[in-house]
Symmetry: none
Subunit: 151 residues, 2 copies
Amino acid sequence: MKFQRHNAIRELVAHSLVANQDELRRKLRRRGFEVTQATLSRDIHELRLSKGPAGYALPAAASAGETAIDDGPPSVAEVLESFGLRVRQAMNQVIISTVMGGAQPVAAALDHEEWPTVLGTIAGDDTVLVICTDPRRAAEVESRLRAMLES
Amino acid sequence: MKFQRHNAIRELVAHSLVANQDELRRKLRRRGFEVTQATLSRDIHELRLSKGPAGYALPAAASAGETAIDDGPPSVAEVLESFGLRVRQAMNQVIISTVMGGAQPVAAALDHEEWPTVLGTIAGDDTVLVICTDPRRAAEVESRLRAMLES
DNA sequence: CAGAGGCTTGCATACTTATTCATTGCGCTG
DNA sequence: CAGCGCAATGAATAAGTATGCAAGCCTCTG
């Protein structure tokens, strides 16, 4: 039974140190599951476990109960369309106003696209502060964002 | 040049997919670091990276909580060494990019040291905005932080 | 300067994990 | 029942990672 074995693996990994697949194989055998390392390699892949300095670990997202992994992070354009309200600029800074709770996703999308003239972003609840290299670039960034917002 | 290489590795792992050590070796080579897989294996161990279905990943920001409880508030240098990825400057501002979850500890350390030319800091999840009195001082702060990062 | 000690690295290789290929068992369909 | 498709698996092996060892460099000390 593959499913029961998967549960046993999850439990072993969560509650004890499992340094490698052969150790996992021996621990499973004591619980009545007798399989080879090849099968465990596949199981681990299916369970999306990760291996670090402290042995195998459950995927962080899964334990938090999230469904994060679909097809990739959303683009700035997408997320602005959903949350963006207004874009303004001053000096080398651009301020994006969003609906409540929309700042974080917008900033994350912006960070992810790594625009060269954007040094960094800081997000509150409904405002994103975008720091650019200089006022001129900030104006460019502003108009680009504004174009997205108004598309 | 071990330290700079470590920083480059952190940044590559944070911002791009690194499926295995040989891929990491090639990406580092394009940045001017020429080392063998053996060295990378050791680096990865020292950086406590973990490998999952999506390639290598930085250690969870949980390590932020652990470092806090020992002998006193961590210095900027310490915390930058753990979390810092990149430092840049524009106008009177300095932007510190960190590992996810690393911005708060960095800002706290910076606040605690009370540098005279730093008026204040704002931290998001992975970005710290440092406001300085003027552009000249900001450049000084930047180079000081950068020196710590690359020490 | 010679030499000890410590750190970093590459090479070669042991160890660990992923994959290919073949086999088996099960359910379905004609 | 024969034939087919398909999921699960093991054996063998390829791919990837860790490590023992020795060399090269520093710094320090006598």
